[in-house]
Amino acid sequence: MIPLTWEIASRGLTEAGRILVMLAVGVAVIEALAYLILHKWLKLKNALPFMLMLPAFIAVVALVIYPFLFNLQLAFSNMSMYRFKEFSVGLSYGIQNFLDVFRAPVLQNVTFAQLLLRTVVWTAVNVFFHVLGGLFLAILLNRPLRGKAIYRTLLTIPWAIPQVIAALAWKNEFHYQYGFINVLLQKLGFAPVQWLSDPKWAFVAVIIVNIWLGIPFMMVIILGGLQSISPDYYDAAQIDGASGFQQFRAITMPLLKPVLTPAIILGVVWTFNNFNVIYLITKGGPMEGTDILVTSLYKAVFEFYRYGFGAAYSTVILIILLIFTWIYLKVTKGMGEVADA
C-alpha cells in the first residue's frame, strides 16, 4: 500500500500549480502579441473577437489538429516499438500500412472485414434497443402518473453511474458460478451460461450491458421531446378520427425527429467508439471474439506496438465513421422531404 503522504500530495499540487502558472503566462503573452499585431499594427476591425478566441484556438490546434495531422503522418511511417524514436516516413510505408489493414488479421485471428461487421452489429443492435427502450419508457412517463419523478430518477441510474464502475460490476455478475445472472437463471430452471468464456455469449453479455447503460439517455431526450409537443395536435387528430397508432406515426414521430436525429447520431458515434464497456468486461476476448474496431485499434497500438499500422487503421476507422454519419444524415433528411411533400 502507498500511503497518501504529504510528499505525494504536494507533488500533485506543485504540478497543478505549474500548469496553471504556465497557462496564465501563456495567455498573457499571446494576448499581448495579438494586441500589438492585430490591433496596433493591422488595425483589424475584428481584433477583439480574434483576441478572445486566440488562446483557445491555439489549444485546439495543439491538442486536436496537430495530433490529428501527426497521426496521418504516422500512418505513412514505419514506426514500431523498435523504431519509436527514429522512424522514417514514406509513401511506400503508408501503402504498406493501409494494405495491411485489409489483407491480414488486424491482431492475430480476426480480419478487418469481420471486425467491421461486428462493429456494425454492435452499433445497430445497441442503438436500436436504446431508442426502442427509451421511446417506450418515455411514452409511459409522459402520461399523468403518480410517482413519475421517482420512476424517472430510478430509471436514469444506469446513466448516472460512472461507466467504469458499471462495466466492472457487470463483469463480476457474469461470473459463471457467483454472478447473479447465472444464479437467477438456475433459480428459474435454466442451465447456467458460459458468459465470458464463450465468444458468442461474451458478445451477448457486452451488448446487454451496453443496452442497459444507454437506454436512460434516449429516454430522457425523448421525454423532453414529447413534452414539447402541443396537445392541440392530438385533439385535432382525434376530431378527425385518427387511431392511436396513426397519431403516433403522423404526429409523435415527425415532431420528435428534430430531437431524435441528433440523439441517434450521438448514440451511434458513442456506441461505435465505446471502448470502456468491451475492454473492461472482456478485453475483446475470448479469442478476439468481442473485439470491435476501436478495441482492436487500441490493442494493435498498445499491446502489439504497431504504431504506424495503428495510425493507418485509425484513419480507416474515422473514414468509416464519417461515411456512417453522412449516410444517416442523407437518409433522414430524405425522409423529411418525403414527409413534407
Binding site: P3, M53, R143, G147, I165, G241, A242, G244
Partner: protein, 291 residues
C-alpha cells in the same frame, strides 16, 4: 362516444383517461424497468457488505447476513484508494480550470461577433466531439512521451483537455446566446469598453453556466479510463478508474473490496449527476440544434 374514443386514442399523449387497469399495468411495467435499472447497483452495495468468509456465495439477498464494513476498512487502510482519489482529483480539477479559462472568452467571441470563419469554427468544434478518442490516443501518447510528460499529471491533464476545451466552448456559447445583448449595449452607452462589458456583465451573469460547464468537464475527466491506461504506469500516479481495474484483476479475493470502492465513488458521482443532468440535457439538445 366522443369520450370513449378520446380514451382509446390517448395512448400516445398525456391524456387523463387511463382506466385503473391500464394505470396498474403501466405502474407494473415501470416498476419492473426500475428494478432492472437499479438492481445491479444494489448488488454492488450488497456485496460490499459481505464478510470475507461469505464473499463467494450465490446469495441474492440485498442485505447479507452478518453484514460488515470490513471491506471498506480494507479498502481505505490497506489499498491505495486514497491515492487514487487524490490523483483523480488533481487531474480533473486542473483540467476544469484549463478548460474554463480557455473557453470562457472564446465562447463569447462566437456568441457575439459575426467574424469570417465563425460558422466553420462552430461546425469544427462539433466535429471534434465526433473524433474517436481512440484515434487521438496514439499521437497524443507519442507527443506526451516526446515532451517527457509520460507518467506525469501534466501529460494526463493535456490529454483530458483535448475533449474539455471544445466541449466547454460549445456549451458556454449556447448560454451566452441566451443573455440579452441589450445589457451590454447599455453598458457601452455608459462608456464601458467591450472587454469591460464582458468581464463586468457577462461573466458574473454566467456564473451558473460556468459552474455547470466545469462540472461536466470534471465528471468526464474524473471517470476517464482509456487515456489514463496509456499515460500512467506508476502505481502512485493511478487515477481511480485504473486502480479499480487493477483491483479486479484478482477477482475472487477482491470482489468485496472493489464493491466497497465502487459504492464510495459511485454514490457521490450519481448525486452530482442527478443534480446537474437537466443542464447537461439542455446543453446536448438545445446547444446542438441551435445555430
Amino acid at each position: 362516444m366522443k369520450k370513449e374514443s378520446s380514451r382509446i386514442h390517448s395512448f400516445f399523449r398525456s391524456g387523463k383517461g387511463d382506466s385503473p387497469a391500464k394505470k396498474l399495468l403501466i405502474h407494473l411495467i415501470l416498476i419492473m424497468a426500475s428494478v432492472i435499472a437499479v438492481y445491479p447497483f444494489l448488488r454492488v452495495v450488497a456485496i460490499s457488505l459481505r464478510p470475507g468468509s461469505q464473499l463467494l456465495s450465490t446469495d441474492l439477498s440485498l442485505i447479507p447476513s452478518n453484514a460488515t464494513l470490513e471491506n471498506y476498512r480494507t479498502l481505505i487502510f490497506e489499498k491505495d484508494f486514497t491515492i487514487w482519489l487524490w490523483n483523480s482529483l488533481v487531474v480533473s480539477l486542473t483540467t476544469v480550470i484549463v478548460g474554463i479559462v480557455l473557453s470562457a472568452s472564446a465562447a463569447y467571441a462566437f456568441s457575439r461577433w459575426d467574424f469570417p470563419g465563425r460558422k466553420q469554427g462552430l461546425v469544427f468544434l462539433l466535429t471534434t466531439q465526433m473524433l474517436p478518442p481512440s484515434m487521438l490516443l496514439l499521437p497524443i501518447y507519442v507527443m506526451v512521451v516526446r515532451l517527457q510528460l509520460f507518467n506525469t499529471y501534466t501529460g494526463m491533464i493535456l490529454a483530458h483537455s483535448v475533449g474539455a476545451v471544445p466541449f466547454s466552448i460549445w456549451l458556454l456559447k449556447g448560454y451566452y446566446d441566451t443573455i440579452p445583448r441589450e445589457l451590454e449595449e447599455a453598458a457601452l452607452v455608459d462608456g464601458a469598453s467591450r472587454l469591460e462589458a464582458f468581464y463586468k456583465i457577462i461573466i458574473p451573469l454566467s456564473t451558473p453556466a460556468l459552474g455547470v460547464c466545469g462540472l461536466f468537464s470534471f465528471m468526464t475527466s474524473w471517470s476517464e479510463f482509456m487515456m489514463a491506461r496509456v499515460m500512467l504506469q506508476k502505481a502512485d500516479l493511478f487515477t481511480w478508474p485504473l486502480g479499480f481495474q487493477k483491483l479486479l484483476d484478482q477477482f475472487t479475493t477482491q470482489w468485496g473490496v472493489f464493491s466497497a470502492a465502487s459504492v464510495l465513488v459511485a454514490v457521490p458521482a450519481m448525486l452530482l449527476f442527478m443534480y446537474s443532468s437537466k443542464w447537461l440535457i439542455s446543453g446536448l439538445t438545445l446547444g446542438g440544434v441551435k445555430e
